[in-house]
Every structure is written in structure tokens, then in C-alpha cells.
């Protein structure tokens, strides 16, 4: 059965179109993936750290100012902190940390309660994380890939240091509560002695761990 003329014409047209768009098998434009790569381990983009810094910096202020300041004022300060984080993307540094720490400290001292509360552990984590993330964001740009191994190692170190701080804060809180229940008044000298003594023990432990030779020696000669 012969095909209708229209069908034949369509087949011819399709053949010509296919021939026109098909690249000959012999020569093809050499296709290759673009861009150089570094064969590192699992990595995350640097902007994750910038986002983490924004969260910690804003979170620190929110923790200090939650239910203590008007919502409008809190929102304005959060925007300022976020803008400071955005500035650090272009100009790496500790601006975001400073802009976050200043109002947080003011609010904490002026409005916060005197005793140990739920704010203290959160604040300690947020402030500590802000300063460490500020260091990371000052070393890498938003497009730099950061190995997960580096972040994980820093996370372990962060956990150890923050745990010591949390223990110290808890000790201070306990001593304050004990002294207040005993005296009926504000924190006495016992609390300060207890906190200072614990801190001195920690510093001594670090010094013994790392060895005296790691510390800078007075009078050591150095050529510039």
C-alpha cells in the first residue's frame, strides 16, 4: 500500500530536519566539564558559616533581650546585627561579633535577672560560637569550600571549652544560690573566690597540658 503524498512529504521533511540537526559522528565539539576542582573530602560552602554566624549573633541578642525589651526595638537591633554579618561577607572581620556582643551585654546587665537562668547556657554557646564563626568567616569567602573534617574538629574543641565554661557558670549559679539562701543578701565574696579559683585551676591545667615551653618567654630574642 503506497503512502499518501502528504505522509511521504512529512517523512522527507523529518529526514532533512534530522540530518540538519545531527552532528556528524566523527566530529563533535569536544565537551568537557568546566571549572577546576580540588579533590578534598566532604565539604560545605563557606556561606554556611556566614549563615551560622548570622544565626548565632542574632540568637545571642534575642536570648538576652527576649521578653525584656519591646519587640520593635528587638527587631531593629536584629536587623542591624544581620546587616553587620552581611558586611563581613565583603569585608571579613569581627564586626558582626562586636555589633552582636555590645547590645547583648548591655541588655543582659541592665535588664537580666541576677541569678542563674536558662539564658546563661544559651548565651554562652551563642557568644562562643559567634567568635569562632567570625574567625572562620574571616579566613574563607562565601564561595570557598570548607572540609567537614575541619568544622568537626573545631566542633569538638568548641564543645570542650564551652563545657568548661558551662560548668563554671553553673558553679557560680550554685554558689550564688547557696550564699543568698545563707545570708539572705546578694552574692558574697565566697562566690567570687569560688569562680576565680575554678578559672585559675583550668588555666593551670591548660598550662600543664601544653607544657611551659609553649608559653612566650620574657626576654627571648627575636629578629624582625
Amino acid at each position: 500500500m503506497t503512502a499518501a503524498p502528504a505522509e511521504r512529504a512529512t517523512r522527507v521533511l523529518l529526514r532533512r530536519v534530522r540530518a540538519a540537526v545531527t552532528v556528524p559522528r566523527f566530529w563533535r565539539r569536544a565537551e568537557t566539564s568546566r571549572g577546576a576542582t580540588i579533590e578534598a573530602g566532604n565539604t560545605i560552602p563557606g556561606w554556611y558559616l556566614h549563615a551560622g554566624l548570622a544565626v548565632c549573633a542574632v540568637g545571642a541578642f534575642l536570648t538576652a533581650a527576649a521578653a525584656a525589651l519591646p519587640a520593635g526595638l528587638v527587631a531593629v537591633v536584629c536587623v542591624v546585627i544581620a546587616a553587620a554579618v552581611a558586611v563581613t561577607v565583603r569585608r571579613p572581620g569581627y564586626l558582626a561579633f562586636g555589633v552582636s556582643l555590645a547590645p547583648t551585654t548591655i541588655v543582659l546587665l541592665a535588664v537580666g535577672s541576677e541569678g542563674y537562668s536558662w539564658r546563661i547556657p544559651l548565651l554562652m554557646i551563642a557568644i562562643h560560637a559567634s567568635v569562632r564563626l567570625s574567625w572562620f568567616t574571616s579566613q574563607v569567602s562565601a564561595t570557598t569550600r570548607v572540609e567537614v573534617t575541619v568544622v568537626a574538629a573545631e566542633g569538638r574543641r568548641f564543645a570542650v571549652i564551652n563545657f568548661v565554661g558551662q560548668a563554671l557558670a553553673l558553679l557560680a549559679g550554685v554558689l550564688t544560690t547557696v550564699s543568698e539562701s545563707g545570708d539572705g543578701g546578694p552574692a558574697s565574696g565566697t562566690v567570687w573566690i569560688g569562680v576565680a579559683g575554678a578559672l585559675a585551676l583550668i588555666v593551670l591545667a591548660i598550662a600543664l597540658r601544653t607544657g611551659a615551653r609553649s608559653w612566650p618567654r620574657r626576654g627571648a630574642s627575636s629578629a624582625r
Binding site: 565539539r29 576542582t37 578534598a40 573530602g41 562562643h128 570557598t144 573545631e154 567570687w192 591548660i206 609553649s214
Partner: protein
């Protein structure tokens, strides 16, 4: 002793922020606020206590100085002193945006591979690397340590071609072809009476028994001589232009994922050379961009390797020279001319060879043009140039020179067709 590890701002920031928090807590009488400063003070103390001592060193190994690959890579080894456990690497390769990564350096040594895809050939620069040594706990940095780019010679790939035309005038007494002369080739010519000079091993006893049963006359089997064809590859390395016409000005370099005209010429010449050598014929190389001794006609794998290296080393040097006289080609050789034909010089030289009796096949190696980024005037200028070029190629074709297009066409099919047409009409 020169200090090579410098303190960064994190020690000062941690210490000052911690002390300010502690002072504020003391003033207001809140031990919990003083405790908030603990992590900051401990960070500062930890950084001061963990200062690395020693230099950061960097080595890069390219693996081999000559490669045939679409991916170039180097192995980078970072050696850091104890305490320095992190490094920031920034690498730059020609035609690619810079890449950066922060990597761990556990145990003082870390090796990484850096890759860049590339379809370019010839002498290529690999990565320029800068490494900043860091202590992840913060506080100290070293460097950056700079490593200049190493160079590697990328050889053209040898695409497989089934049939290519070779010269019709055969030479020599050995080779893959049969000539008209008598010789020791495989193809039989006739059976003739034994004459002086004929070898007794060639006596055909059956024919002798049939024709001269009394053995008064011996008959020998005569064969045609084996001979070889000669092919000369002429590469026009006077210019090297990429597909993007906007890069022809010279301020921009072609991207590593775009083949330029010289890359295509190298690839085409390498493919044809391999086909010729595999067939048992001889091939030579000439470069229009250089007045130097050409690679003489020869065969074999070692000559093919030498020719491939010579192709990879060809490059434009200075202003493109104008050759008034065509380079001398061995008589009877077929000439393949690889050029962009953007000026009249290559076409004139092809015409001179044809006048001297050589068969010439012109291979157009200009990439498919990409006009992005051009102004309207520049597009008009390109159109005029393209019209002149097409006229030049049409003139060549009308004068009897075969013109093939390597990029955007089916050169293998065209070469196969030309070879078959030549085989049918080849004089013996």
C-alpha cells in the same frame, strides 16, 4: 629567629571581649556574666599556648611532562609543623575562575589532587597555588606560600581514520602498495622466461613443466615491486584563534574547554599521520609559521611519536610571517595543508604546490564561530572576513584542490571518499 607564624586578630578579640565581659560582670556584681567570659578567655589562652613553630612547605608534582588527556592534574603536598592543622588553598589555572578550599592537615602532611578539564593541546600552564597555613583553634597564620605554575605538554589525541588519500606517485622498493616496476612485492605480474639476474627461487616449476617439459627453458614468476607513498603535513601555526571571535583581539585567552584552530590542526594532523603510518607509508611535517628544518619523511611508531611532539610544540611566535615562496616538498608527495585561510598566504602557497605538480588537500581548521559579545560593527567586520575566506576556499576548490572542513563537518567521511576515488583512478 624570624617569626613566620603571625598572630591574627582572634587572640586579641577573644581576650578583650572576655576581659570586658568579666569586668562588666564584676562591676555589676554578677558572677554568671563573668562566667560568660570563660570560653572567650580560654580560647585566647589556648591560642597563645598552641603556637606552631616551623615553616609550611608546599610541593606540586605534575606527574608527567607530556600527557594526552582531557584532564590536567597535579598532586599538591602540604607539610605543616606540629600545631598547624588547617590550610586554605587558593588555586588559579588559565581560563578558569580561581578556586579555594579550607582543608585539614592531619599529622602534619596532606596531599590533594587539583584537576582542570582542558581540550587544549600544546604547552599548557597548570595551577598557580597559594596556601595559607592556619591553626584551627585560631590565633596564628603563616604565609601565604606561593607556588608558580608548572608547565606540561599536552599531545594531540590521535583519532582513528579508516582511509586517507595518499600520493599517487609511489617511491621505493618496500611498502604497502604495488607499483608498476618489477620487484619483490606480493602482487604477481606475469610468468616469463628466466633471464640473467632472476633468482632461481622464483622458478615456477608448474609453468616450466607445462611450457617446456624438456626443461630447456625455465620460467620464473615475476611480481610488481612494493612501494610506499609519501605524505607531507603542513601546519599553518601563524595564528591560533578560538571559536569566540571576541577573543581574536588578543586581550583574552580562549577558555580551556574550547578548541582553537591550532588545536584542531594538531588533532587533524595527528589523526592523518597515524592513518598514514599505520598503512605503512611515510609522513613528514612542515610548519608555515617557522622557517626551520622540517621533519623529514619517515615511517614507524617512533617517527609518529616524534611528529606528535613536534605538532604539540608548534605555536605562533611573534607577528605572523609571510612566506612568498612555498616550502620545498619532496617530489611526488601529497600535501595536507592545515590552516584557517584567514589570509591569502596559505592559499597562495597551496596554489604554488599544485603548480609544481603536487596534489594538495586543504583542511580548514577554523572553529565554528561564536559571535557572542561582539558589537554590531564587529559583526559586520567578521562577516566581511568570512566572505573573503569563503571566496578563498571556493577559489581553491575550483582550482582542483580538495577542501575539507575539520570542525563542524564529517572529515572522516570526506577523506574516505577522496581515498576511494583516488584508488579507482590510481595509475599503476
Amino acid at each position: 629567629m624570624t617569626r613566620i607564624w603571625h598572630a591574627d586578630a582572634s587572640i586579641m578579640v577573644s581576650a578583650v571581649a572576655g576581659l570586658l565581659l568579666a569586668a562588666a560582670g564584676l562591676l555589676v556584681g554578677r558572677p554568671q556574666v563573668v562566667a560568660l567570659a570563660t570560653p572567650l578567655v580560654l580560647c585566647a589562652v589556648w591560642s597563645i599556648a598552641h603556637r606552631p613553630r616551623g615553616a609550611l612547605t608546599l610541593t606540586a608534582v605534575a606527574g608527567t611532562t607530556a600527557v594526552r588527556s582531557s584532564q590536567l592534574d597535579i598532586e599538591l603536598t602540604i607539610t605543616a609543623p606540629p600545631g598547624a592543622d588547617t590550610a586554605v588553598i587558593r588555586a588559579l589555572s588559565p581560563g578558569n575562575p580561581s578556586i579555594a578550599a579550607m582543608v585539614a592537615v592531619p599529622g602534619g602532611t596532606r596531599s590533594l589532587r587539583l584537576h582542570t578539564p582542558s581540550v587544549r593541546t600544546g604547552t599548557r600552564e597548570l595551577f598557580t597555588v597559594d596556601v595559607l597555613g592556619l591553626v584551627a583553634a585560631g590565633g596564628w597564620n603563616h604565609g601565604p606560600v606561593h607556588l608558580p605554575a608548572a608547565r606540561v605538554l599536552v599531545l594531540p589525541r590521535q583519532r582513528r581514520l579508516d582511509l586517507v588519500p595518499v600520493s599517487q606517485q609511489l617511491r621505493g622498493l618496500t611498502g604497502p602498495h604495488s607499483s608498476r616496476r618489477l620487484g619483490d612485492g606480493p602482487e604477481m605480474r606475469d610468468v616469463a622466461p628466466l633471464r640473467s639476474g632472476d633468482s632461481l627461487r622464483r622458478v615456477d616449476w608448474r609453468a616450466t613443466a607445462r611450457r617446456s617439459p624438456d626443461l630447456s627453458q625455465l620460467y620464473v614468476r615475476r611480481t610488481f615491486a612494493a612501494s610506499e607513498a609519501s605524505v607531507v603535513l603542513v601546519v599553518d601555526s601563524r595564528d591560533d584563534v578560538g571559536p569566540r571571535v571576541s577573543t581574536w583581539v588578543g586581550y583574552q585567552e580562549s577558555a580551556p574547554y574550547e578548541q582553537t584552530s591550532l588545536d584542531l590542526a594538531r588533532e587533524a594532523a595527528a589523526a592523518i599521520a597515524k592513518a598514514v603510518v599505520d598503512a605503512g607509508d611515510r609522513v613528514g611535517l612542515e610548519d608555515l609559521g617557522r622557517v626551520a628544518s622540517p621533519l623529514p619523511l619517515a615511517g614507524g611508531k617512533r617517527h609518529l611519536q616524534r611528529l606528535t611532539y613536534a605538532l604539540a610544540l608548534s605555536r605562533p611566535v611573534g607577528a605572523p610571517p609571510t612566506r612568498r615562496r612555498a616550502p620545498q616538498i619532496p617530489s611526488g608527495a601529497l600535501v595536507y595543508l592545515f590552516s584557517t585561510f584567514l589570509d591569502d598566504n596559505a592559499a597562495d602557497i597551496a596554489g604554488q604546490w599544485q603548480t609544481h605538480g603536487h596534489r594538495v588537500i586543504a583542511v580548514d581548521t577554523l572553529p565554528v564561530a561564536d559571535l557572542r559579545g561582539l558589537t554590531v560593527r564587529e559583526i559586520y567586520a567578521w562577516r566581511l572576513t568570512d566572505i573573503e575566506r569563503r571566496d578563498r576556499l571556493i577559489t581553491l576548490a575550483r582550482s582542483g584542490i580538495d577542501v575539507l572542513r575539520w570542525a563542524g563537518g564529517d572529515a572522516a567521511r570526506d577523506l574516505r571518499g577522496a581515498a576511494r576515488a583516488q584508488t579507482h583512478g590510481r595509475p599503476r
